[in-house]
Amino acid sequence: MKNIKSLFKNEVSKKVLLFFNENQNCIDTVKGISLWIGGDIDIIQKVLNQLVKEGVITSHRTASTTAYAYTNNKEIVKKIEKYIKKFKGL
């Protein structure tokens, strides 16, 4: 995984990570995610693909649907939570 700070540099990537960190039980399609965070589906799709590569988001693929969810990796989740707390000034 890249440096967490670099994942938060991109505004869409930041929104996606904040959304999944807040809703860790969520599994949704790119269309659903775009509804929750707002924004262009194509851009969100690209960001999701990138985050899947980074191991921050996991994808569940079938022939007709691809759904995305937050990683189950405890260490990555902890790092992201720590970073969010830091930049939110909590």
């Binding site: 039980n25 599994i27 659903g32 509804l35 569940h60 989740v77």
Partner: protein
């Protein structure tokens, strides 16, 4: 007023002082009261924040000494720098939540001004209440809407497969994801309904371990899973949650254990697992029905094959090894699961096309005359009409029809070439030729050894056979299970 009520009031007043409606209130008041400054004091006249409002905020202490009564009354006074100030209570019902302090007034406010401030305050309060209600709605509804969307997505993911193994594994993975747990198991009741059999066990650290000896079948009533399956009731413990899979009767149990963040499972998560279990039951039932249908279809095909075999043994059907080889080549080529299923049907009845071909042509040793070849081509298509009414065989029909085509277009019945020939038919053509070459049969020509047959097939790569299929065949044929084709010699 007890301590918690006091804290609640303070929190309300702080939120109010920071709300959007307050900035509108400030603007309206600055027009009414001219060049005024506005600060907030809590119910005890303590300023909410000490900032640019300077020494005037010390007025709080001054005001506190007088504590106006009744609380609805405003106060007009001069501060230590001789500026006119107005203290105005923020009231809801009978409670005073705090005070708004206007300083630097250029003149003493009259009744009209005070009334205008009061109206503005009421408007600001109403606006804030609306804001609060909307926030509350957002906070309550949004997580539920997200949960609902998650359930909908899970439904889509589960309903996209009818393969039981794939489905059960998918349910387990999604459960792990949604429950944020480290471990998930799905167990189904066996036929005796006395034991739970583990169908998928996923552990984040160990991956799938359903064959691990530690995941043995569980007797009904024993352990958490057994109890849930026996009573039909959910079990929620600190580190585990277990829900029975119910469809009229109990068919199994789904359980999750150990959250990734080490937090305890709560009621909300139990509700999520119950909903997921309901979705899982529907998907499992569909897959079971599909499996039964498939079994019936295989049964029908095997019956037909047996009937044809009874008429003329080894003419219309092939050995079990042949079927296994066809499927192994398809697996090696990583063909889609649905294509493999159709290929399986076709491999069980590959030579139905021979049904109305006269025996003397079928059993003729050596090469055929052109007129005999013409009869074979015509009768092959005629014979296929026997099975075309079977709906479940329709996707397999092109494979049966075209498995005598040759890659270079010189085969029959349609002289298709290359990729125009269905991939299943190209696979079956290779297996068919191999079996014919290595097995002893009075009318299939001279029997040759396995290695010679492989060489022959390789030699015809690109002309008679698809090179891609031949490559997969070479990978498969060397496996020990194919060394003993019926009648074959090394």
């Amino acid at each position: 007023m007890n301590e918690s009520e006091k804290k609640e009031k303070q929190a309300f007043f702080i939120r109010f002082s920071k709300s959007g409606s307050i900035s509108i209130f400030r603007k309206l008041c600055s027009k009414v009261l001219k060049r005024t400054r506005c600060a907030f004091l809590d119910a005890e006249y303590k300023p909410l924040k000490c900032g640019s409002e300077c020494s005037h905020l010390r007025i709080g202490k001054y005001l506190a000494r007088f504590r106006p009564s009744p609380s609805r009354e405003y106060m007009v006074f001069k501060c230590s720098c001789n500026k006119i100030c107005l203290s105005f209570p923020v009231i809801q019902g009978s409670s005073v939540y705090g005070h708004v302090l206007f300083t630097h007034l250029d003149r003493e406010p009259n009744k009209r001004m005070i009334d205008a401030v009061r109206i503005c305050m009421d408007l600001a309060l109403k606006e804030f209440q609306k804001e609060q209600e909307l926030n509350k709605l957002y906070e309550t509804i949004r997580p539920r809407a997200i949960a609902l969307s998650t359930i909908h997505t899970i439904h889509r993911l589960l309903s996209s497969t009818l393969n039981m193994d794939e489905l059960i594994e998918r349910i387990a993975r999604l459960t792990l994801q949604v429950m944020r747990s480290r471990h998930c198991s799905i167990m189904l009741l066996d036929e005796s309904k006395k034991y739970l059999i583990p169908k998928a066990v996923i552990d984040l650290d160990k991956e799938i371990l359903k064959t691990d000896p530690q995941y043995k079948k569980i007797k009904l009533g024993v352990k958490q899973e057994g109890k849930a399956a026996k009573t039909g009731e959910t079990i929620l413990l600190r580190n585990s949650v277990c829900v029975p899979l119910v469809e009229e009767d109990i068919i199994g149990v789904i359980s999750a254990r150990d959250k990734t963040n080490d937090a305890p499972f709560d009621r909300f998560e139990l509700e999520i697992l119950i909903t997921l279990a309901e979705q899982a039951v529907i998907a499992i039932k569909n897959a079971q029905m599909y499996e039964e249908q498939e079994k019936m279809a295989y049964g029908s095909i095997k019956t037909m094959a047996a009937l044809l075999d009874a008429k003329s043994p080894n003419t219309f059907t092939h050995s079990d090894q042949f079927v296994k080889m066809v499927l192994a080549i398809a697996e090696e080529m990583k063909l889609p699961r649905e294509d493999i299923a159709n290929l399986h049907y076709a491999a069980l009845l590959p030579d139905t096309g021979k049904f109305s071909i006269p025996d003397e042509i079928l059993r003729k040793p050596g090469s055929l005359s052109s007129s005999e070849y013409g009869i074979i081509k015509k009768q092959h298509l005629e014979s296929l009409k026997i099975i075309e009414h079977l709906e479940f065989l329709k996707p397999a029909m092109p494979i049966i029809r075209h498995h005598h085509e040759k890659y270079d277009g010189t085969g029959y019945p349609d002289g298709l070439k290359g990729s125009k020939i269905p991939v299943g038919a190209r696979v079956m053509a290779v297996a068919n030729a191999f079996e014919a070459m290595v097995s002893a049969s009075p009318y299939k020509g001279k029997k040759i050894s396995v290695s010679q047959a492989i060489k022959e097939i390789e030699n015809n790569k690109g002309s008679q056979f698809d090179p891609e299929v031949v490559r997969a065949f070479i990978g498969v044929v060397k496996k020990p299970e194919f060394k003993n084709m019926p009648g074959a010699s090394a």
